[in-house]
Amino acid sequence: MSPSRAADDASRGGASPEVAGHRLACGRSGDDVLEQVALGRGDQRDAHQARCVHCQAALTEAGRLWAPVASLAAREETPPPDLLQRVMRAIRELARERRHLTLPGDRGTTRVSADAVARIAQRTAEDVEGVRVAFSQSRAGRLRSSDAVGIAGQHVVVDLAVVTTYGRSIPAVADRTRAAVHAALTTLAGASTVEVNIYVDDVLPAASPGSAPGRR
């Protein structure tokens, strides 16, 4: 069919009378045929369709009509590379407004910032034998240390990345670190429940005498 003929058909609203919105000569619904193709089941013909020329023609036509849609649907759209960063930046701004450890008291409320919690966790971990350096971290790596601290009411979750001393048992060091940070955040900061996630980033030889604190 020529484009002009197709245009004439289109103007009459009957460009594809054998498929969409019509009943096939065999009695089957053209919409159902189009749906079958759209759902990717064009090749799964039932017994009737296997022998019905009307259905076979309609399935072929529906496949042709739907091909551009299927092509667009198969295209994997890539989100902008800065989407994650933009979302998390906006959320951190919002979260910062509410991220305080809140300690109600008889004579007023005490609020401890996420930065303060992160600092206590870091310094406590660095005092644990077998931990050479410790810093709170996020998976993005470039964020403020307080971004690795979650606070809801008096519940605290903290991510710590540590480097342990070679020769020390990592599970034992992790357990000691977890216990020390838990104790510090409950006693120094007033948290009621604390969860400490520890990531061992590296293992280094013991530092020489006289090196900086926390680098044993």
Binding site: M1, P3, A6, A7, D9, A10, G13, A15, S16, V19, A20, G21, D31, L34, E35, A38, E61, A62, R64, L65, W66, P68, V69, S71, L72, A73, E76, E77, T78, P79, P80, L83, L84, R86, V87, M88, A90, I91, R92, L94, A95, R99, S138, R139, A140, D147, A148, G150, I151, A152, H155, V157, D159, A174, R178, E195, V196, N197, I198, Y199
Partner: protein, 184 residues
């Protein structure tokens, strides 16, 4: 759940619980997991990459703010896409209110879709047909065709029945077939 288990090994439900406890990296992981489909949904709804970027961001931030009210009756992804769909529909209705009689600025040609098809621009022609669909049909089509939802899951997103989604998708497909069939 062991504390040392990494975030990419756990399910969405666990991450949602952690976010509710104020743990921000858990939401970062949820965004990482869902951003591709969420962006695709927005892009196919508004057909503009820049707008889709902004709307996806808005939806993801709005979801974070709404997490305390997330009841868990739907999967997190379905619930997020319900928010995204609403953000997109609000945007499209606002766009229609602001310029009800102006031609769509994204439209590649003001004439009939056939001109574009004839010129070999079937992709643009298709996108124009989708843009001209009523919003309820567009939503059903986008979810079931471009985001890969079943009628049941799309109904959960659109808060209607699977039969209603199927009816809208059928009308949308018929409109596409009529327009795209104008040339052979």
């Amino acid at each position: 759940m062991p504390a040392t288990r990494s975030l990419d090994e756990v399910g969405d439900d666990y991450l949602v619980d952690r976010v509710r406890q104020g743990y921000l990296p858990a939401y970062e992981e949820l965004v990482r997991r869902h951003q591709q489909r969420t962006y695709t949904l927005a892009l196919r709804m508004v057909d503009d990459a820049h707008e889709a970027h902004d709307l996806t961001q808005e939806a993801l931030v709005r979801a974070w703010r709404s997490l305390p009210s997330f009841g868990g009756r739907s999967a997190f992804g379905t619930w997020l896409h319900r928010i995204t769909m609403n953000v997109c529909l609000d945007h499209l209705r606002r766009r229609q209110r602001l310029a009800p009689h102006e031609p769509d600025p994204q439209a590649p040609h003001p004439d009939d879709v056939q001109h574009q098809v004839e010129a070999g621009h079937r992709d643009q022609a298709l996108r124009q047909v989708v843009r001209e669909l009523p919003l309820d049909q567009r939503g059903a089509l986008v979810l079931t065709t471009f985001v890969g939802y079943s009628y049941e899951d799309a109904a959960d997103v659109l808060q209607t029945t699977p039969d209603a989604v199927r009816g809208r998708a059928t009308r949308a497909r018929a409109a596409i077939a009529r327009q795209m069939g104008a040339w052979r």
